[in-house]
C-alpha cells in the first residue's frame, strides 16, 4: 500500500504508486506493439501482392490459356472464366435456398426450432471447406463418375447457404415491426407481406449479405480440388472438369518454374481485384436502385 499521510488521509488524494503507473505505461506500450506486429505482416502481404501482381498481369495473361509445362507465356483466361462459371452455378443453387432459410428464421422461426436451425447454420459455417469438398465429391462426382463444374458449384453452394441465411435473417429483423403490422392491417396475408413488404425493404442489406458470402467462396480452393479439378483448356459445360483461378494459383505457386510463379501472383492479384470489384459494383448498384427505402 502507498504510504498515505496519517494526518490528512481524508483530504489528500493518495498519489498513484510509481509501480502502478509504470505498469500502466508498459501495458499501453505492449498494446501498441501488438497492433504494429499485426499490421506489419498484413501490410507486407498487401504490398507484396500488389507489387508482384501489377508487374505480372499482361494482355496474354488475361486472354490466353495455359501453355504446356515448362513453356513460358500463356495465361489464365480459361481459369478466370471458369471461376465465374462455377460461382454462377453456386449462386443459382445457393442464393434462393439461403435467402429462403433467412426469411424462415426471421419471420417464422422465432421459436425453439428456429434456434436449432440458427445453431446448425452457425456450426455449418465452421465446417472446414475441404470436408465440404469431400461431400460434394461423394454426392456429385461419384454419381457422375467424373469431376465436373457442377460438383464445384455444389460444394461452394453448400458453403454459401448458412452465411446467406444468417445475414438475411439479421437484415429482415432490422425492418420495423410497424411496417408488417401496417400490411396486416390492410388485410394482406402473411406470405405476401413477407415477400413484398419485408423482403423488399431489406433488399439492399440482403444483397450485401449475398455478396459477402460470394466473396468468401470466390477465393476457396480446397473444395474445388477434387470437384472441379481444374482444366488446361476452355470449358463451359456443366459436366466437365473446369479450371478455376484459385486452383491455378495453387498449382502454379507450387511449381518449380519462375514464369508460373509470376502467373500465380498475377492470378492472385486478378482474383482479389475481381472479388473487390464484384462486391463493390453490386453494392453500388443496390444503393442507387433503392435509395429512399433504406
Amino acid at each position: 500500500m502507498p504510504d498515505v499521510g496519517k494526518t490528512s488521509a481524508l483530504h489528500a488524494v493518495p498519489p498513484i504508486a510509481l509501480r502502478r503507473r509504470i505498469t500502466d505505461h508498459v501495458m499501453t506500450g505492449v498494446a501498441v506493439l501488438t497492433v504494429i506486429l499485426v499490421l506489419a505482416p498484413l501490410f507486407a502481404i498487401f504490398a507484396y501482392l500488389v507489387y508482384r501482381g501489377i508487374g505480372s498481369v499482361n494482355w496474354a495473361f488475361l486472354t490466353q490459356t495455359p501453355k504446356p509445362v515448362g513453356e513460358a507465356g500463356g495465361g489464365m483466361a480459361n481459369a478466370i472464366v471458369g471461376s465465374g462459371f462455377i460461382l454462377a452455378l453456386a449462386s443459382i443453387l445457393g442464393v434462393p435456398v439461403g435467402v429462403g432459410a433467412g426469411i424462415y428464421l426471421a419471420e417464422f422461426g422465432r421459436n425453439r426450432f428456429g434456434d436449432v436451425i440458427r445453431f446448425t447454420a452457425d456450426v455449418l459455417n465452421g465446417v472446414p471447406s475441404i470436408v465440404i469438398g469431400i461431400v460434394a465429391y461423394a454426392i456429385v462426382v461419384l454419381y457422375q463418375k467424373h469431376f465436373s463444374a457442377l460438383a464445384g458449384g455444389v460444394a461452394l453452394a453448400i458453403m454459401m447457404i448458412p452465411t446467406i441465411a444468417r445475414t438475411t435473417e439479421e437484415m429482415l429483423l432490422l425492418v420495423p415491426q410497424a411496417l408488417r403490422e401496417a400490411a396486416y392491417g390492410l388485410g394482406i396475408p402473411r406470405w405476401r407481406t413477407t415477400l413484398s413488404i419485408t423482403l423488399r425493404t431489406a433488399t439492399s442489406g440482403v444483397i450485401t449479405g449475398i455478396m459477402l458470402a460470394f466473396a468468401r467462396v470466390a477465393g476457396e480452393t480446397a473444395p474445388l480440388l477434387f470437384t472441379a479439378l481444374g482444366n488446361q483448356f476452355w470449358n463451359l459445360k456443366v459436366n466437365e472438369p473446369t479450371a478455376a483461378l484459385p486452383l491455378q494459383i495453387y498449382t502454379y505457386g507450387l511449381s518449380p518454374y519462375d514464369d508460373w510463379h509470376r502467373q500465380a501472383w498475377a492470378g492472385a492479384f486478378v482474383l482479389i481485384v475481381l472479388i473487390v470489384t464484384a462486391v463493390s459494383a453490386v453494392r453500388f448498384a443496390v444503393r442507387r436502385g433503392t435509395f429512399g427505402t433504406a
Binding site: V13, P14, T23, D24, M27, T28, V30, A31, L33, T34, V35, V38, L42, A44, I45, Y48, L49, R52, P96, V97, G98, G100, A101, I103, Y104, F108, V116, I117, F119, T120, V123, L124, G126, V127, P128, S129, I130, V131, I134, V135, Y137, A138, I139, I161, P162, A218, G219, T221, A222, L225, F226, L229, P246, I249, Y250, G253, L254, A268, I272, I275
Partner: protein, 295 residues
Amino acid sequence: MLLCGLAILGMLVLIVYELVLRSGLSWRAFGFKFFAGRDWDPVNEQFGALPFIYGTLVSSLLALLIAVPLSIGVAVFTTEMCPARLRGPLSFFVELLAAIPSVVYGLWAIFVLVPLLSNYVQPFLSKTLGWTGLFTGPPYGISMLAAGIILAIMIIPIISSITREVLMVVPQHQREAVLALGATRWEMIRVGVLRNARAGIMGGIILGLGRALGETMAVTMVIGNRPEIAKSLFAPGYTMASVLANEFSEATGDVYLSSLIEIGLALFLVTIVVNALARLLVWTVTRGQPSRANA
C-alpha cells in the same frame, strides 16, 4: 420457407451421412487403431492417421500461441486506447485480412515467409533455443513453424474482431466504477473489462482454433507434407486437411479413399465440437444472459 430452413438441417445430416457411409470400409478394416497408427503406406494399404492428427494439433496450437496475445492486444487497443479517429480504419484494415483467400496467404508464405524463416529466424532460434530440442535440424523454412505462423496471421482477424465485439458489450459503468476507485487505465482494463469478458474472449479463441484446424491451402503449401512425427518445429509435418488436399483426387483403391474420408470425418467432428462450444460461449456473452436461463 420452412423447406429452406429444413435444407440447412438437411445439409448437416447429409454431410454426416456421406462421411460415415463412405468411411465405413476403413473403419471396418482398422477400427480405433486407425487413429493410433503411425504408418501411412498406400502401396501396402496400411493406414494410420496419427501423424496427421499430431500435425493438425501442433500447428493449430502453435498458431493460437502466437495469435491469442496479439489479437487480444489489438482488440484492447481498438476499444480502450486508440483515438476515435483511428478506430474505424484500424478495424477495417484488420478485417480486410479475413477477405484474402487462403491460397494467397499460402503464396505469400512460400515466397516471403519461408525464405525469411530459413535465412534469419531459424538460424537464430536454433542458436539461442536449440537446447530445447524444439528448434533443431536443417533450416529449410518449409516446416511446422512456418505453418503455425501463417495460420496465426490468418486467425488473428477472427479472434480480434470477436474479442472487440465482446469488449464493447462490457457496460460502460463497469469501467467508470473501476476508474472511480482510483485505478490506472491498465488496471481498469484488467479488472473492469477483461475479467468481465473472459467467457466471450474464450469463445473467440476457440472459434479461431476451429478455423485453424480446418485450414487447408496455406498450410499445405508450407508445412512440407511428410507424415512423420518430429519433435522439432523445423521438421516438416502433415495435417489432416492437407493430406486430403494432396491425396484425395489421386487416391487409388477403395480402402485408401475410405481412409481419407475417415480423416475427413474426424476433422469434421472435431471442428463441429470446437465450433459449437465457441458459439455457445459467444452467444452467452453477447446476448447478455446465460444460455442456461432459457434451457
